[in-house]
């Protein structure tokens, strides 16, 4: 379990829930009254009709966040829940980053975009928007590097995660695709969280 900078702990929970009105309210209410703090939450329809997948990242004191999955499982509308923190998982997060970019800076920014293999999805006279997906560290790194140009907007989806299909160790957290992993770029020190455990 990852300890965050402020001494609390993070856990990643994957749940399959009924796609019904009020389900999110039930879950949010449970989190509120049990003192679980949601660091991120991603929801979407799953491959099974009538069911949605949710991926939560929860933060809090260790003994509190350890109870999250068990408490979620008590909800009738939660069909399956797994605390996948200590399992072999792969996770990704998507971010849209709008950064100030006039003609003079655009080349440098595009070079960064290239290294990170991100898509530039919109370009204007004074700004450009890029789409990045990967682990938290990769996104944090890019945001840090772009900060000096002036961040206009950062929109993050929160983490989605799944168990790995094989027991072979994969990429660390999706920072680079296999060919880009030869890059000499090193990560800024983050909080020790890793995409595969």
């Amino acid at each position: 379990m990852a300890e965050t900078a402020n001494g609390t702990f993070q856990r990643t929970i994957a749940a399959l829930v009924q796609d019904r009105p009020g389900v999110l309210a039930r879950i949010a209410g449970l989190f509120r009254r049990r003192g679980f703090n949601i660091a991120s939450l991603a929801v979407g329809r799953s491959e099974r009709p009538g069911l949605s997948r949710m991926t939560f990242v929860v933060e809090g004191p260790e003994e509190v966040v350890r109870q999250v999955a068990a408490q979620l499982d008590r909800l009738i509308d939660v069909v399956e829940v797994h605390d996948i923190t200590e399992q072999n998982i792969v996770w990704r997060e998507l971010a849209l980053i709008k950064v100030r970019a006039n003609a003079g800076k655009r080349g440098e920014i595009l070079e960064l975009a290239n290294i990170f293999r991100v898509n530039v999805i919109d370009i204007g006279v004074e700004s450009l928007t890029m789409e990045i997906s990967g682990g938290r560290q990769k996104i944090d790194s890019l945001i840090e590097l772009l900060r000096k140009f002036g961040l206009e907007e950062v929109i993050r989806t929160g983490r989605v995660a799944t168990l790995r299909g094989t027991l072979v160790e994969g990429e660390d957290d999706g920072l680079f695709q296999s060919d880009a992993s030869k890059s000499t770029y090193t990560l800024p020190t983050a909080t020790g969280e890793s995409g595969s455990v």
Binding site: G22, R26, G29, Q67, A70, D73, L75, D77
Partner: protein, 560 residues
């Protein structure tokens, strides 16, 4: 066989199919269509309470005392919100209940219509599950799902909110339609590895103690508990809600522990090398300071709810399963032993820390009343209580003879529970003697239900422990607020005898110890309901006491 019925008829037919014979409730505009068909279903006896909280507590008392699901009806808006305390009480104590509320018509939902309240939103935290049913076609399945959820697994209250026009709408009801709850499973037998680990700990232990909680009562595992305790010679401590799950005259019976429990029970837990918890959630009134709770012991925690494992107390051996099944799995693996030394020590603790001193006073004290009730009824009555000093005296001094004869709001601590829960208990057990031990504070929170008692000719005996004070409040203000008494004195109490008589109920006043037994006998002999006004002394010293959040080291035994 598919039936084409109105929503109201579907509800009634589904209730009858679930075995419901009694509902407690109050009508109102949005639920009138349901009341409009009740005359067609004489199998459903409706008991009209005077407040929806009373309906909820009566359903709760009915459920606890009969082991079936209690049912309450209420209308939309204030009718529904008045149920909330009753639902919260049932939720905290895992009591199976189904509440059916009327809602404004579908088109009016979300418009702040007259008597509209978002009751599913309001009751999410105090129900095991709830529903807003928007089609009559869904009603039958929903009612059956609600009963399944309420009574299985860890029981609890379920609320079904039904818009007025859904009651009126025609719909299909298939009584044989299977319920579809993919997110709900009911634990039965425990994992064999967990059983083996628990059995090994029990067989190795030198100083084991059983902590029997409400789960033993809810699963009706009284015989199994006794068999295990006797086979392995293990002292049995019952939690407040576990009271009456083990015969109190049994040599292994070791009282109830915690804040106002018997000192010897808390000491036995503290000195044990193994705690075997059957269906208790290690509540803070038992545990106090979790860091200092029975530090020398290993713990086995048997619970049907996996979320209770390691919630407050770390345990070495979790066992998740239905307690009755778990007893069946454990019994053959637990060795027959004698354990002479430990049992002698526990007897020594009982002798050294009697805890249950009846005050040697000429005045009438709460303990005298409960002791006399216990003696005269020979421990054979169903007892309901409110919350406070009178509840603790009842728990300490009534010698329960029968399993499941103790109804008290343990988790929620709901004052006022005593009056209507007795109604549910008496309705569910018409041939049994029901004594409701009330505080004068709690009694006045729900005493309007005396009208319900009269209307239904229920021979309930109400014992008001009347000291014109919120006794537990005076005690806390004395101990923890430097005796700065605030808002604890009731100077406006009515004459409870006259009040009873105003309802046509027999009223008796008792002011001295001499009158106790004859008054209780007179009440028992009276065919109808009785209110006995026991005028007792106000005291600030309900002992023993472990102050909140503390441990056995801070135990205050009776200094007198």
């Amino acid at each position: 066989m598919l039936k084409h019925l109105t929503g109201s008829e579907i509800v009634c037919e589904a209730l009858i199919k679930e075995g419901v014979s009694v509902v407690f409730g109050i009508p109102g505009g949005a639920i009138l269509p349901l009341y409009g068909v009740l005359s067609k279903y004489p199998a459903l006896r409706h008991i009209l309470t005077r407040h929806e909280q009373g309906a909820a507590h009566a359903a709760d008392g009915y459920a606890r005392s009969t082991g079936t699901v209690g049912v309450a009806f209420a209308t939309s808006g204030p009718g529904a919100t008045n149920l909330v305390t009753g639902l919260a009480t049932a939720m905290m104590d895992s009591v199976p209940m189904v509440a059916i509320t009327g809602q404004v018509g579908r088109a009016a939902i979300g418009t702040d219509a007259f008597q509209e309240a978002d009751i599913t939103g309001v009751t999410m935290p105090v129900t095991k599950h709830n529903y807003l049913v928007m089609r009559a076609d869904d009603l039958g399945r929903t009612v059956h799902e609600a009963f399944h959820i309420a009574r299985t697994g860890r029981p609890g209250p379920v609320l079904i909110d039904i818009p007025k026009d859904v009651f009126i709408e025609m719909g299909e009801y298939d009584p044989d339609e299977p319920i579809d709850l993919p997110g709900y499973s009911v634990p039965g037998m425990a994992d064999e590895a967990q059983i083996d680990a628990a059995a090994a700990l029990i067989n190795q232990a030198e100083r084991p103690v059983i902590l029997a909680g409400h789960g033993v009562v809810l699963s009706r595992s009284f015989d199994e508990l006794r068999e295990l305790a006797e086979k392995a010679q293990i002292p049995v401590v019952t939690t407040l809600l576990g009271i009456s799950s083990f015969p109190e005259d049994h040599v292994l019976s070791t009282g109830f522990p915690g804040m106002h429990g018997m000192a010897y029970a808390s000491l036995a837990i503290d000195e044990a090398d193994l705690i075997i918890n059957f269906g208790s959630r290690f509540d803070d009134r038992i545990v106090g300071d979790a860091q200092r709770f029975s530090t020398g012991s290993k713990k086995i925690h048997v619970d049907i709810d996996p979320a209770e494992i390691n919630k407050t107390i770390h345990v070495e051996a979790p066992v998740v399963g239905n307690i009755k099944d778990v007893f069946g799995q454990l019994l053959p693996k637990v060795k027959k032993t004698t354990r002479v030394e430990w049992l002698q020590h526990v007897e020594h603790l009982k002798a050294e820390h009697p805890s249950l001193r009846i005050p040697e006073s000429d005045r009438l004290m709460g303990q005298h009343v409960v002791k006399a009730l216990s003696d005269v009824t020979k421990g054979d009555a169903i007892i309901t209580t409110g919350v406070g000093q009178h509840q603790m005296w009842a728990a300490q001094h009534y010698q329960f003879k029968n399993a499941n004869s103790w109804l008290s709001s343990g988790g929620a601590g709901t004052m006022g529970y005593e009056v209507p829960s007795a109604i549910g208990a008496q309705v569910g057990n018409p041939d049994k003697l029901v004594w409701s031990i009330c505080g004068d504070g709690g009694f006045q929170m729900t005493m309007m239900e005396l009208a319900t008692v009269v209307e239904n000719r229920l021979p309930i005996k109400y014992a008001i422990m009347n000291n014109n004070h919120l006794g537990m409040i005076t005690q806390w203000q004395s101990f923890f607020y430097d005796g700065d008494y605030q808002a604890e004195t009731y100077t406006g109490n009515p004459d409870f005898v006259k009040l009873a008589e105003a309802y046509g109920i027999k009223g008796i006043r008792v002011t001295s110890q001499d009158e106790l037994e004859s008054a209780i006998r007179e009440a028992n002999a009276h065919e109808g309901p009785v209110v006995v006004d026991f005028v007792i002394e106000k005291v600030d010293d309900l002992y023993p006491m472990i102050p909140v959040g503390q441990s056995i080291e801070e135990l205050i035994e009776d200094p007198n």
